[in-house]
């Protein structure tokens, strides 16, 4: 589904990505861990071209999205993204946040979009907040809404960029719960996180990145119990 070939991203002198080659199959839940500054967020942000790679190719569902003539807006409709800082639109109600893109892009009628929003909000138990503004909600609620806002576009894959890092500890659980349900429904997911418990439980495959490269990848069982790379061993000894 996503095919990344020798991806490089340089910020001036800094080489954030240094030759990453990865394939994500339909239905996989790939969790990326690594120390801060290792390039994991940059990698994720390259997947929907929020960062333009310096070199290398990314193929998504048979299209080379790094090609200059590729219509990235069209492709982003099928790639959902959830941010660390939620990034809900503060001047819009919860419902408007969810329906804005499907309506603006004429993918749904008013009624369809509203029904879809209600259905999604029911699923995360926040239907009563439909007319509230983001500032009135807790961080956990905002992040759950940010997730369903992305889901409203019916994406084929969901990217999560440290979705729980900006949350108070007691709100992490509710967000992970929504992600867990999403995983059970068979969504293809690429998740950058520091939640090792979530990785162990939900991931089909874990990647360890450091200095812009993937140093180790394995199913979560092996990844956490029998890490091969010394840097991963060191990393795990610090975070577990």
């Amino acid at each position: 589904m996503i095919d990344v070939r020798d991806l490089h991203k340089h910020f001036g002198e800094v080489k954030a990505l240094n030759g990453v080659t990865e394939v994500v199959q339909q239905g996989e839940k790939v969790v990326i861990v690594g120390p801060s500054g290792c390039g994991k967020s940059t990698f994720l942000r390259c997947l929907n071209l929020l960062e333009r790679p310096t070199a290398g190719e990314i193929w998504f569902e048979g299209t080379n999205i790094t090609d200059k003539n590729c219509n990235i807006n069209k492709l982003r409709q099928r790639i959902g993204m959830v941010f660390q800082q939620f990034n809900l639109f503060p001047h819009k109600t919860v419902r408007q946040n969810i329906t804005m893109a499907p309506l603006a892009l004429k993918l749904m009628s008013n009624e369809e979009a509203n029904d879809r929003a209600s259905q999604l909000l029911t699923r995360i138990g926040l239907l009563d907040k439909a007319d509230a503004y983001p500032a009135q909600l807790s961080g956990g609620q905002q992040q759950r809404i940010a997730i369903v806002r992305a889901l409203a576009m019916n994406p084929d894959v969901m990217l999560f960029d440290e979705p729980t890092s900006a949350l108070d500890p007691e709100m992490v659980g509710e967000v992970l719960e929504v992600m867990r349900e999403l995983a059970e429904d068979g969504m293809t997911m690429v998740v950058v996180t520091h939640e090792m418990g979530f990785a162990r439980e939900v991931a089909t495959r874990c990647l360890f990145m450091d200095s812009g490269q993937v140093l180790e990848e394995a199913p979560p069982g092996d990844f956490f119990s029998r890490p091969q790379n010394p840097r991963l061993q060191d990393f795990l000894s610090k975070v577990l």
Binding site: R52, N73, K74, F89, A146, A150
Partner: protein, 252 residues
């Protein structure tokens, strides 16, 4: 006559003489009409310049923001945009680097030297508009760029185009940063127009000077100071109401 009585008599006679002087300086000899026309000109120049300034400021701000966005996304920008950007930079540098008074004199006596004196008010509007545009451009650019970059990223990640993201997500939030500063700029503009007398436009300050040269009284000056103050107070009142309304939509 007791001391108190003479005190009151003095005050009454002072007030009477002030009333007379006020009448003589402001109302009599058709002077009231002069003031009304002067006030009309002051307001006209301010309004005309404000509108021109906002239009110019928007254009320059859009250019500067597009250049910044393109540079960030692609690492370079379209050659046409780059030329426009250079023109904008030159405009901003010259306008902000020279006194308004000098710009006004150059407009009137160098560029539009052939314009007849009764049309000078349009030259004043143009000069003040061009000057104001430079400051408005910075206000708008700063207002747009103060909106968190995450908002743009969220919009783009949903598949919205650059223009849709700007229109539906960034601009509505930027307006809150921009509007109060814009009203402030209008207040500054109003006060700055007091120099148009130098190119013989009869604004309220010029009228006061005309009358003062006849009566040698302080009253015309004090009077127009009050007029400016009243208008500024009114605009400040509008600004405060505006800010309250914008804060209301925070809905915390």
């Amino acid at each position: 006559m007791s001391a108190l009585e003479s005190f009151w008599t003095n005050i009454v006679s002072d007030l009477q003489s002030f009333g007379l002087q006020f009448y003589e300086n402001i109302i009599a000899h058709n002077r009231w009409n002069l003031f009304v026309n002067g006030f009309k000109n002051t307001i006209l120049i301010t309004l005309g310049a404000a509108i021109l300034g906002i239009v110019l400021g928007c254009l320059v701000a859009i250019c500067k923001v597009s250049v910044a966005n393109q540079k960030k996304a692609l690492g370079h920008c379209h050659p046409l945009l780059r030329i426009l950007n250079v023109i904008c930079d030159i405009y901003l540098t010259i306008i902000r680097g020279t006194p308004m008074m000098v710009q006004l004199l150059i407009a009137a006596f160098v560029i539009f030297v052939t314009v007849p004196f009764d049309k000078m008010i349009y030259v004043a509007m143009l000069a003040f508009g061009i000057n104001s545009g430079a400051y408005v451009a910075e206000i708008i650019r700063a207002g747009i760029q103060a909106v968190n970059i995450g908002q743009t990223e969220a919009g783009r990640s949903l598949g919205l185009t650059q223009a849709q993201t700007m229109r539906m997500i960034v601009l509505p939030q930027a307006v809150r940063n921009i509007l109060p500063a814009l009203v402030n700029e209008a207040i500054v503009l109003l006060k700055e127009t007091a120099i148009v007398g130098y190119i013989a436009v009869r604004d309220i300050t010029y009228v006061s000077t005309l009358i003062r040269s006849r009566t040698f009284s302080a009253i015309p000056l004090l009077f127009i100071a009050c007029v400016y103050l009243l208008v500024v107070l009114f605009m400040t009142y509008l600004l405060r109401r505006l800010e309250r309304r914008l804060a209301k939509s925070d809905r915390r």
